[in-house]
């Protein structure tokens, strides 16, 4: 029976988010070439300026101190008169690197542990599951606060700490997929053909586990961007003056009544980025389910 739900195609809920993410990624990569002020250049005459405020003595990045030009603050300035566009663009570097690199740690370590637990079973499996349960039992935010407090808030520590917290979730996904795959005919066939455990894991199991895990990873990316924002918001993320979205939202709190745009513009950009990753993950997941249903 033809059903429109079985057409295995990616719709607008995949492509529009992808375009936005690509835009953010390109902005982060090319931030140095934009005709914008430095992200920490303060303009004392335009504190918390509304979006669209014009100024005629703005010094752009990579130019001499005396070269003043006309410039329009299309998104306004923050409480210290810094250009919001410039801070957003530079801040996206932090959000994207935390968002992409910390799930990578969980993806690699958690994926490996999960595949091993699901394939070898027995005592190895129960040890791995117990260890993961202990990590899950520890309230994540408290762990992050502790790490950032004790080891110092820098990008490397932040990525490592957040990445560590994603290990259990990835290992669960990998273990569940591996358990399901172990009974499949092609794995049995490989075993009967005399392939060793390592070779079955690498050639049969891992290639089939990687795609669902990567799709799950997109949801983790969304979550990590929010977590980095929350830490920066609490003042335990990347220290000032390095711009980050969470930090920008926090700075705007003081002027929420007179100049809500200082908080709301970075909040909206963060929302768009997070929902984009969520939507991409969700549409890829349902695509995969529909493809499977067709077989």
């Amino acid at each position: 029976m033809p059903n429109k739900n079985t057409t295995a195609r990616l719709g607008m809920t995949f492509w529009i988010p992808l375009i936005w993410i690509a835009f953010v990624a390109v902005s982060a990569a090319t931030a140095g070439w934009w005709a914008i002020p430095e992200s920490d250049r303060m303009d004392w005459e335009n504190l918390s300026a509304k979006p669209g405020t014009k100024s005629d003595d703005v010094v752009l990045q990579h130019t001499g101190e005396t070269e003043k030009t006309d410039y329009t603050y299309w998104m306004g300035t923050d409480t210290m008169g810094r250009d919001i566009i410039s801070r957003l663009v530079y801040g996206s570097r932090i959000s994207l690197s935390v968002g992409l690199f910390s799930p990578l740690i969980g993806f690699l370590l958690g994926g490996l542990l999960g595949c091993m637990a699901g394939y070898y079973r027995g005592r190895l499996e129960s040890t791995i599951v117990a260890a993961m349960d202990i990590i899950l039992a520890f309230p994540g935010l408290v762990f992050l606060l502790a790490i950032s407090f004790y080891l110092g808030p820098n990008l490397k520590n932040l990525i490592m700490a957040l990445g560590f917290l994603t290990i259990p979730a990835f290992s669960r996904v990998a273990r569940a997929k591996t358990l399901a795959l172990s009974d499949e005919e092609f794995v049995q066939a490989a075993r009967l053909s005399g392939f060793g455990n390592i070779s079955i894991l690498v050639r049969e199991i891992i290639p089939n586990v990687i795609i669902p895990m990567a799709i799950y990873g997109l949801l983790v990316v969304a979550f990590m961007i929010m977590a980095e924002g929350a830490l920066s918001f609490l003042g335990l993320g990347i220290p000032a003056p390095t711009p980050s979205w969470g930090g920008m939202i926090a700075e705007g709190r003081e002027v929420l009544d007179e100049a809500p745009h200082v908080s709301m513009i970075p909040a909206f950009v963060m929302f768009l980025t997070v929902i984009s990753f969520n939507l991409m993950g969700d549409s890829l997941r349902s695509l995969l389910e529909r493809r499977k249903g067709k077989l």
């Binding site: 309230p139 709190r253 009544d257 908080s263 709301m264």
Partner: protein, 321 residues
């Protein structure tokens, strides 16, 4: 019947987690350059003063020894004294705990208030515009971090509409209404994010229930839809929901740190943040212990209850009725 073996396993796991987590925190404290003695001594302290403070606090002993002293005191119910104010940590925590509990209860209540109608109606109207609307709304709110939701609440309800205060806390006995009012916005900030999970769980269970024979029977009897949904379908569909409500309480503790800080509520979350900013290690240690124990025990109780209330057994039973 409660499975005693499971209870033991959970209890042993709780002890293990507490040992690992507290040992880890102790170790992390020791890695830090400088210690609380410098914070207490202030800028004018001489080396001799610092040594005296260190000796008084027991900081001159090695970390393993200090950990075991702390553990020994813990067994006797003593969590040490705050380095900054000298108050016993346990007393401060007990005095702050009701605020956090009230916040969690109110947020969970509000979350259910949104999730129940949304979940029931989207299961009943499965696949229609209403269902898709709730699912899209859920998707959007899941993409808003709680600190942004808190700022949105402040902006809309206290700056624009001026209905509720943005910060400030009144103890319950000084004015119950003022007390509840100070919890509405913080509660909403958590509830408006967490209702989605509850709504999705309820929706999917309800769709399964609605396909059962006893529902068909109830409808054939000519009962109005709301009566079928509320009297016949809701109860057998809510077992997973109850479990998730329990698991979420654990997650709320993390959210509470952020929300209490923003709304200046004097709960455990804010206590922890202030202790972290003030480098009050004993207080940090005590709060982390409380949060870990609370989190693991709630999750364990939920796990145990889940085996008692296995939804499949219950659904079959209600089929037979």
């Amino acid at each position: 019947m409660i499975n005693m073996r499971l209870v033991w396993i959970k209890f042993i796991r709780l002890i293990c987690v507490v040992l690992v987590v507290t040992a880890l925190t102790f170790l992390l404290v020791n890695l830090l350059p400088g210690d609380a003695a410098y914070v207490i001594g202030g800028e004018d302290a001489t080396l001799r003063d610092i040594q005296a403070i260190r000796h008084e606090l027991g900081l001159d002993r090695n970390v393993v020894e200090r950990y075991f002293v702390w553990l020994g005191d813990l067994v006797r119910g003593d969590l040490g004294k705050s380095y900054l104010t000298g108050e016993p940590v346990i007393e401060v925590i007990v005095s702050r705990l009701p605020v956090t509990i009230e916040l969690i209860v109110i947020s969970q209540f509000l979350a259910l208030f949104f999730a129940l109608p949304a979940g029931i109606s989207s299961a009943y109207r499965n696949g229609t515009f209403l269902d898709r609307f709730f699912s899209a709304a859920g998707f959007a709110t899941l993409s808003i971090p709680s600190f942004v939701m808190a700022l949105l609440m402040i902006y809309v309800f206290s700056i624009q509409l001026q209905w509720l205060p943005a910060t400030g806390y009144t103890p319950f006995f000084d004015g119950p209404w003022a007390n509840i009012k100070s919890f509405i916005l913080p509660g909403l900030s958590i509830a408006l994010i967490e209702w989605v999970v509850l709504m999705r769980v309820l929706r999917s269970d309800m769709i399964t229930t609605l396909q059962q024979n006893f529902i068909l029977m109830a409808r054939a009897k000519g009962l109005p839809p709301w009566k079928v949904l509320l009297h016949h379908a809701l109860r057998p569909s809510s077992f997973t929901l109850i479990t998730v409500v329990g698991i979420q309480i654990g997650r709320y503790i993390g959210e509470a740190v952020i929300v209490e800080t923003i709304f200046a509520l004097p709960g455990i979350g804010r206590l922890l943040m202030n202790a972290i900013y003030g480098r009050d290690y004993m207080m940090v240690q005590g709060c982390i212990l409380l949060v870990t124990v609370g989190y693991v025990s709630i999750n364990s109780v939920v796990d145990i209850l889940y085996t008692v209330l296995d939804p499949r057994i219950r659904t079959e039973k209600s089929n037979a009725e």
